[in-house]
């Protein structure tokens, strides 16, 4: 186990960047909890869920896809070859869930009540189910992850207990997380009137589930490439290639069902219309579904390190685009506002992601996430560099070059499509008030004004004062709010109006300018009866 050193950490470029992001996030956090959501986010009643739900929660939770896919493969299907990637996958899943929970703490208006769904049940609510799944699965992931910490402790008992319940935990974990992936889609089933038909479908839970499996494959490949450089000994490249093929087939199934579903709902043509939603949809499908399928179905690219890595990256990006399209793009038209996250929303999101990377790094350093003997070799410089970087040294006309060119085309195309889409975003049009004056003749015919109201007489009153609605109201265009908006009560009988010495009731208008003043004592008989 590495020693925890107390030296001041070296100042490097990336450390400065991370520190800057975290400081901005900290400042944004202070603002969030002092000024409220209104003062710090661009959320509104028209757009109540923004990037914290669309990215932090929907995508953070999806990071767990690698965790449940790989642990199912190893523990339930007993395909032992994949065992070396179980631990990093579980770690990523655990971090993903923790970070989604942190994101929720920012998004919830009353985060201190986050435990309420555990005791206040409403089984009809998808959010209730999501709440339970998040709680249970975070616990399961913590237990699944705990051996890494427990094995470092001198006492072996807890370690043995956790080890002995691994299989039930894995089964529970797979059930909970698959349920959860699909219920994030179910969340949006109840908004057919809000979500654009390109994304709204009765099959949303199915789409969320299938795409999460494809993402699970992609995330595993992606992680292996970024941090598992030691793995060539334990995990041969062939395994990742296979995983890529599984991901491609899953995506193909996803693509076919999605297209068939759109065809049957008659909205396929919407995808090709030159609208904001149409372009964003095409970009999502091109980048995240069609391109990786094609790339992964070409054996030369699939078997090429860079090709596989790039395809996996596209699946991940496409997945993020899909979730953001469901949560944000698809809501744009119906909401009547154009939502874009504020800097605080972005800073907090960036900080959460940064914290995730830092925690992953710390876990790799102090716990046996990867086989310890390999870590030692990396430290001694005996291991090769990142395969993704090494791939650039391959000959000019190779699968790498082919993959690279295709990736550039797809990324460029996606960017162009998205830009074109944003350009086509329709301006918000307010409903017409109509021109001229409103014909209120029918209403006026029915108009019944309240009868005369006797004002309570003071001791020095020169005579009874009676208020007449008929005399005060414009019969052609009555406006009750002139007086009944803070000035006079309307609901209880208005009998008890006190004499207005402070000029706050009648005196507001009877000030001598707008109407006869209540102060002008020579004109008392304007309102008071002569006794």
């Amino acid at each position: 186990m590495a020693k925890i050193s107390l030296r001041f950490p070296k100042i490097t470029f990336w450390r400065v960047v991370l520190l800057m992001i975290l400081s901005a996030g900290f400042y944004a956090t202070v603002l969030r909890f002092t000024k409220g959501l209104g003062g710090t986010t661009n959320l509104s009643a028209q757009f109540p869920w923004g990037i914290w739900i669309g990215f932090d929660v929907l995508c953070g939770v999806a990071l767990a896809a690698g965790g449940f896919s790989i642990s199912a493969v190893v523990y339930i299907f007993h395909i032992e070859k994949y065992r070396p990637i179980v631990r990093p996958a579980i770690l990523t899943a655990f971090l993903g869930y923790s970070l989604a929970c942190v994101g929720l703490m920012f998004d919830l208006g009353r985060p201190y009540n986050i435990w309420h769904p555990l005791i206040m049940w409403n089984p009809h609510s998808v959010m209730f189910e999501v709440g339970w799944c998040v709680t249970l699965y975070t616990t399961v992931l913590m237990l699944e992850f705990s051996p890494l910490v427990l094995e470092k402790l001198p006492w072996q008992r807890p370690y043995k207990i956790v080890k002995s319940i691994t299989i039930p935990l894995v089964i529970l974990g797979v059930l909970l997380s698959t349920m959860h992936q699909s219920s994030l889609g179910t969340l949006y089933l109840i908004v057919p009137h809000r979500l654009h038909p390109l994304w709204y479908s009765p099959l949303l839970p199915v789409f969320f589930f299938i795409s999460a499996i494809a993402l699970g494959c992609a995330m595993t490949i992606f992680e292996s490439y970024l941090s598992l450089r030691a793995f060539r000994k334990h995990l041969d490249f062939h395994l990742l290639t296979k995983l890529g093929a599984v991901g491609a087939v899953t995506l193909l199934v996803y693509l076919v069902i999605r297209v068939m579903d759109m065809q049957s709902r008659g909205v396929l043509s919407l995808a090709f219309q030159p609208t904001y939603e149409g372009r964003m949809f095409l970009a999502e499908m091109l980048l995240g579904v069609i391109a990786p399928i094609i790339l992964l179905f070409i054996p030369r690219i699939r078997n090429n390190q860079f090709g596989l890595f790039a395809s996996a990256l596209m699946i991940v990006l496409g997945f993020v685009m899909n979730r953001i399209n469901v949560a944000i793009t698809g809501m744009d038209q119906s909401s009547g506002v154009h939502y874009f996250p504020s800097w605080t929303e972005l800073a907090i999101t960036a900080s959460i992601v940064t914290a995730g990377f830092i925690m992953f790094g710390l876990a790799v350093k102090y716990l046996d996430v990867f086989p310890p003997e390999d870590m030692k070799e990396i430290a001694q410089g005996k291991r090769a560099e990142l395969p993704a970087l090494a791939a650039f040294r391959s000959p000019l006309w190779s699968a790498t070059t082919l993959a690279f060119v295709l990736v550039v085309i797809v990324l460029g195309g996606t960017a162009a499509l998205s830009y074109d889409g944003i350009r086509r975003r329709l301006p918000v049009v307010a409903l017409s008030e109509g021109s001229g004056s409103v014909d209120v003749s029918r209403g006026l015919a029915e108009l019944k004004m309240p009868g005369p109201i006797k004002i309570k007489m003071g001791k020095t009153s020169p005579g009874q004062c009676v208020f007449s609605h008929a005399r005060h109201v414009d019969q052609k265009n009555p406006n009750c709010s002139t007086c009944h908006s803070g000035l006079f009560r309307m609901l209880p009988t208005t009998a008890d109006i006190a004499p207005d010495r402070k000029m706050t009731n009648c005196g507001t208008c009877h000030d001598g300018v707008k109407a006869v003043s209540v102060r002008k004592e020579d004109r008392c008989d304007a309102c008071h009866a002569k006794s």
Partner: protein
Amino acid sequence: MDTQTVTKKGLLFDTTLCIGCGACYGACKERNKLPRTNENFLRDNLSADTFTVVNRRNNRFVRRMCMHCNEPTCVSVCPVGALVKSEQGPVSYDASKCMGCRYCVQACPFGVPQYEWDDPITPRVRKCDLCRDRVAAGLATACATVCPTGATKFGNRDELTAEAEARIRANPGRYVNHVYGVAEVGGTSVLLLSDVPFATLGYRTDLLQAPLPHLTWNVLHKLPTVVSIGGVLMSGIWWITKRREEVKKAEREAHSTEKGTN
């Protein structure tokens, strides 16, 4: 059964009778002790401090407020049951349960629930509660009590439905032949009559005619089945693959001992 024991209350709003006087707006503010939010009430919008508005749309005055759906989407989506539909019809909110997820704001087909966005610690969801306490005490809602023309009328929902249909029948050609709220999202406690298309007044006419909560419940009620089948299936696969490994191992050992004896 419920309908026999408790009469469902409701409101009927007839745009052709509304003169835009703002009495309902003022009475609502008064009853709910809400601060003034706009100098001109006709330009006001629903907000955390405004539960009903009268707006001018397509040369008519039209009210907006909570529709108090028969099967409310907001009640169905609330994970903690902070929103409740009472038997008489009002949909009301309990801030002490709320965790502020705003799923109700997101899901309401009429865009009614509002939020106290500027409160950092104890924000509430805000909306009309059909004067729940007044209605329970046998009174009409504040807005209906003060309406001087009868444009907003309080009563039993089925009687109001019948009256709305009777008004359409009695004056053929005056109204759009539809009582808004009878069938929209499974029916609402607030019913609307108009002489111009409802869509031009800002009321959506593309809503489902069935309650929206069915959309999610159709999926949710299958979950226990999915979980049990999934659990059994995975345990089974685990057992089979484990057994296969064991058999393979035993065979290998038997093979090697055979070799050893040879």
